[in-house]
Amino acid sequence: MTVTNVDAGANANAVATDALYVYCVARGDGNCLMGPIGLDDRTVYTLTSGPLRAVVHNCPAQPYESQDPQVLQQWIIAHQEVVQAAANAFGAVLPMSFDMIVRPAQAGSAGDALIAWLDEKRDRFCRLLDRVEGKAEYGVQIFCDRQRMAASLVEDDQALGDMRDEAAAKPRGLAHILQQKLAKAVREGVEKQADAMAQDFYGRLRRCVDDVRVEKLRKDDSGMQMLLNLSCLMPDGAKELGRELDEIQDTPGVSVRFTGPWPPYSFVGA
């Protein structure tokens, strides 16, 4: 393929848009125009093969990159909104990660390559679509207040309480050593209690949902420790998880974040 007589300076608008940005895969036949709802208001439409369609827009064969944080945010949000629009229009969707752009192959167009990919993955995608049909992803994060746990541990635990009282009664040098010992014991106690809580909460939440992914815990410097970071798959709008989270939230020192419904980003991987 040759590009003829393009003066890049004068023809900034004439960049070839022969690649395809892919938002998600859904079921259905017949191509469909979804309108200018894409990244940078690109026109979004579907490409179909067999029982599956991909939701795409035409774009130049280069990744989306920008130095402007605002632009990046808008892209990410636009990506999510197109996936959501596709879910509203077509039912279950398998969302793509950001910046998944099919390039034209030597043997054919980007559309050909995308359709070949859909055909190759057909069985797997149909199985995944069956699995997420009528369901949505919800994010659950549970935090505990370590300081509060430490304080109540010393109050409630006889041995730790005794250590504290003993330290208070000793002369300064010895008290210091005892306090360090106490601090270590409290740290370990809090750790043990946090583990036990995380296991208990996980078991209770697992029963409320169809599937769960355990995500990496995030560090937190505000004194709140993340105990659990879960992505949960369950029927859209189901109430059991919210009820269980209400009960968990009643545990002293524990707080809960609950977000969704999300398209099943966390349930389409290997």
């Binding site: 393929m1 040759t2 590009v3 393009v6 960049v15 070839a16 022969d18 690649a19 998600c24 017949g30 439409y45 579907t46 827009h57 035409n58 064969a61 280069q62 990744p63 989306y64 990159e65 920008s66 130095q67 944080p69 605002q70 990046l72 945010q73 990410i76 949000i77 990506h79 999510q80 398998l94 969302p95 793509m96 990660s97 950001f98 910046d99 998944m100 752009i101 099919v102 390039r103 559309g111 995308l114 992803e137 919800y138 994010g139 560090k219 937190d220 410097d221 505000s222 993340m226 919210g242 009820r243 989270l245 209400d246 977000t259 969704g260 999300w262 980003y265 966390s266 389409v268 991987g269």
Partner: protein, 98 residues
């Protein structure tokens, strides 16, 4: 009493969205996809985008996030791929769809 309701993504933080849109979801096969070398950059840029938002600091997740994106980017770069920008038509009209 009505049980706890989730925050919809508009009220959830950008972090929740980034977590999913950048890190998860389906990936294209490496030989089909445009160079993803830009992705680590996006991770770093987005750290600017959300720097100052309380939540981002609170979860302190950026370093980890940027790291994992870089690792993923590095892993992808080991796969065979072509960076050559394809030549192509100058036709900017969207495909005709029915």
């Amino acid at each position: 009493m009505e049980p706890q309701l989730p925050k919809s993504y508009r009220r959830a933080t950008l972090v929740d969205l980034l977590d999913r849109v950048l890190d998860r979801g389906l990936f294209l096969r490496a030989d089909l996809v445009i160079s993803l070398a830009g992705i680590p950059l996006i991770g770093a840029q987005l750290s600017l985008a959300v720097a100052g938002t309380e939540t981002m600091l609170k979860y302190g997740m950026l370093a980890e996030w940027d790291q994992s994106i870089r690792a993923a980017g590095a892993a992808r770069r080991e796969l065979p791929r072509s960076d050559a920008p394809p030549g192509g038509c100058q036709n900017d009209t969207p495909c005709q769809t029915a």
